[in-house]
Amino acid sequence: MTAYFSGKEPSFTVKLLHDRVYELLAEDKRLDGRTPMDIRKIDIKTNVIEKAEGSAMVSMGGTRIIAGVKNDIGQPFSDRPNEGVFAVNAELLPLASKSFEAGPPSEQGVELARIVDRSIRESRAIDLEKLCFIPGQKAYVIFLDFYVLDYDGNYFDPAVLAAVAALSTAKLPKYEVVNGQLEKKEETIPISLRTIPVSITIGLIKDKMLVDPSLAEQSSLDTSLVATFDSEGNLCAVQKNSSGYIPLDLMKNILTVAKERTDFIRSRFMELAKVG
């Protein structure tokens, strides 16, 4: 049983597409002319929204994401009294695809936000302890919100890039603790990131693998997963994000590919976003 039976109605065209994509992969080819390990063209613009503390517009092929950082002062979580608060929200805007609907966040939207959240949080890119002023009482609350503007498959990887780009260019208003009270200063301070988490989405059809699936390819996959690595080569987040199953004997190969591809995307990111 393959995934195209379980994700949605297995239409005849989807089955044909599945077989066609597999045939092409066997020849190291893909529908859009890429090789299985090619990532679509990445484009990154930072500081695209002046009102936001940090922002970025990132595209990967035909998928485009806009991300913005806003901040506030609030109370640390009771189980993390020494840390600032970091919150991620995603929205799949109805203008991005006819399959997205307005309204409360969909299951897909929640999953996307939580994968991006995990990629940033678990890689410990942000030093949250530096964002706390008075333990248990006052800390920065960093909101990272992003919107999918145009959807042509795989929003996970451009979303992580957009999040990292927006955070690494963000400038927070500076505060000082004076007699137990916070005083806002004129200057701003950056959120310096300790590592650059980068994710890669890998699709499987039988024993073949491809990265950064397009929308057309996505519907033909047996299964897929998103893996995030930090700059030091540690795996910091994974999610199998569709039905189907991952054969155990492919696992090692999948992660080797994932690490190599995220290293590649990271070097592209450094060139394009011009961040330290």
Partner: protein, 245 residues
Amino acid sequence: MNMKEQVLIKPDGTRLDGRKPNELRPIKMEVGVLEKSDGSAYLEHGGTRVFAAVFGPKEMHPKHLALPSRAVLRLRYHMASFSVEDRKSLGMTRREIELSKVIRQALESVIFLEEFPRSSIDIFAEIVQADGGTRCAAITASSLALADAGIPMLDLLPAVAAGKVGGKVVLDLSDVEDKYGEADMPVAISPRLNAALLFQLNGRLSLGEFDEAWELARQGCSKIYEMQRNALKNRYETYKPEEET
């Protein structure tokens, strides 16, 4: 106060609850525990307690969601308000929405859904106490409830987490180990398909540590698989339908 000072591995190499790194917590399973559902199971995994119930295959409501070629699987993973230290708000949190999705997508691929066109199979996994590993417990229990409901499946699905705490790669993280440890990797592996159906990771692992954690999770899943089979045998080996009075 500071999380980093939490000791998770004692000097003798054992864990806070006395377990060895590759040791599962005590697990208890029972099948057919809820009267009105078509299939049900109760699972205790360490301090985690979960009820799972299956309704269906039945006619799909609302009708427009029905598919002509197969059944639609719906699953709700939900935690009781009192299942955690600080009362959980009622209703579905974002975490519960995400976990419902990944658990459903794990189970979807072991059920012969195409045997039941136009119908729905609804699974409810209710966590009544959470002590780490709740999504895995929900999978293990739901899979038993599906078997109890007589729904044809490719395999039973056992699930358990592996991860890293106090610098050591360990199997089956408890709540404290999950909170203060370095990495938590919940996995569901079907021994028959020799494949992973749930695979998530939160936290940092080197690729070497990943291999180690993966092997522990695989072994843990085979052990839980045996327990699942025994739980079903216990229920059905001597089972006689109750006589009508």
